[in-house]
């Protein structure tokens, strides 16, 4: 069966520090991968998606970036965090060419102080 992992589970970082959040998927090949952010009390905002290694599309302009160095690994990064980067970050995957269902990871709670 397929599983999706995210780490760390929680993170507290000072403003201006760098960020690296990791997501890995097991049990599937060539998945579509997604990064979402959920601000407190709000819905999900799609940040990045990837349909293959090295292929990243950005949905919103911001100081975050994403990379996909391996087929089942998706990394969210920032060189300098802002207060507004605080939130709950969710990684998801879907079957390429499948029925459009997305499977979500457990999330990372990021607090920028």
């Amino acid at each position: 069966s397929q599983t999706i992992h995210q780490w760390p589970a929680t993170l507290v970082q000072p403003v201006g520090s760098p960020l690296s959040l990791e997501c890995t998927v097991e049990g599937t090949s060539n998945p579509n991968l997604y990064w979402y952010r959920q601000a407190a009390g709000r819905g999900l905002q799609l940040l990045f998606y990837s349909v293959g290694i090295g292929q990243i599309s950005s949905e919103v302009p911001q100081n975050l970036s994403a990379s996909r160095p391996q087929d089942r690994q998706f990394i969210l990064s920032s060189k300098k965090l802002l207060l507004s980067d605080s939130g709950f970050y969710l990684c998801a995957w879907s079957v390429s060419g499948g029925d459009h269902e997305q499977f979500f990871g457990p999330g990372t709670r990021l607090t920028v102080l």
């Binding site: 579509n32 997604y34 709000r42 819905g43 999900l44 799609l46 998606y49 349909v51 709950f88 969710l90 998801a92 879907s94 499948g98 029925d99 459009h100 269902e101 997305q102 499977f103 979500f104 990871g105 457990p106 999330g107 709670r109």
Partner: protein, 114 residues
């Protein structure tokens, strides 16, 4: 472009009462529709999805939803809720033939009281 409106940000209900969470969408093309549930500090879990066929879709945990194309709605229902159903519920759509980009509503917080 697509958009999703969840008409209620919060829905309080007593245990064993019926509940309906409303979702309307806007799209110039045909869409697939989803309902997800999120328990506190967890990821999202799929409740049910509509791809084609019967407009009444049954999901997990006793939930069901009905796709109404003329009213562009996909309301979620449960005939009798439990305390454990307390969670955030998200409606989402994706255009048919696309690459799986989900557009989410803002969510509805269901609070079940004893």
């Amino acid at each position: 472009a697509q958009s999703v409106t969840q008409l209620d940000s919060q829905v309080p209900v007593f245990e064993e009462a019926p509940v309906e969470l409303r979702c309307n969408y806007s799209s110039s093309v045909s869409v697939y529709l989803f309902w997800y549930v999120q328990y506190p500090n967890q990821g999202l879990q799929l409740l049910l999805k509509y791809l084609s066929g019967s407009t009444l879709v049954k999901g997990i945990n006793g939930f069901e939803a009905e796709f109404n194309k003329s009213q562009t709605s996909f309301h979620l229902r449960k005939p009798s809720v439990h305390i454990s159903d307390t969670a955030e519920y998200f409606c989402a759509v994706t255009p048919r033939g696309g690459y799986n980009k989900l557009i989410f509503g803002a969510g509805t917080r269901l609070a079940v009281h004893p």
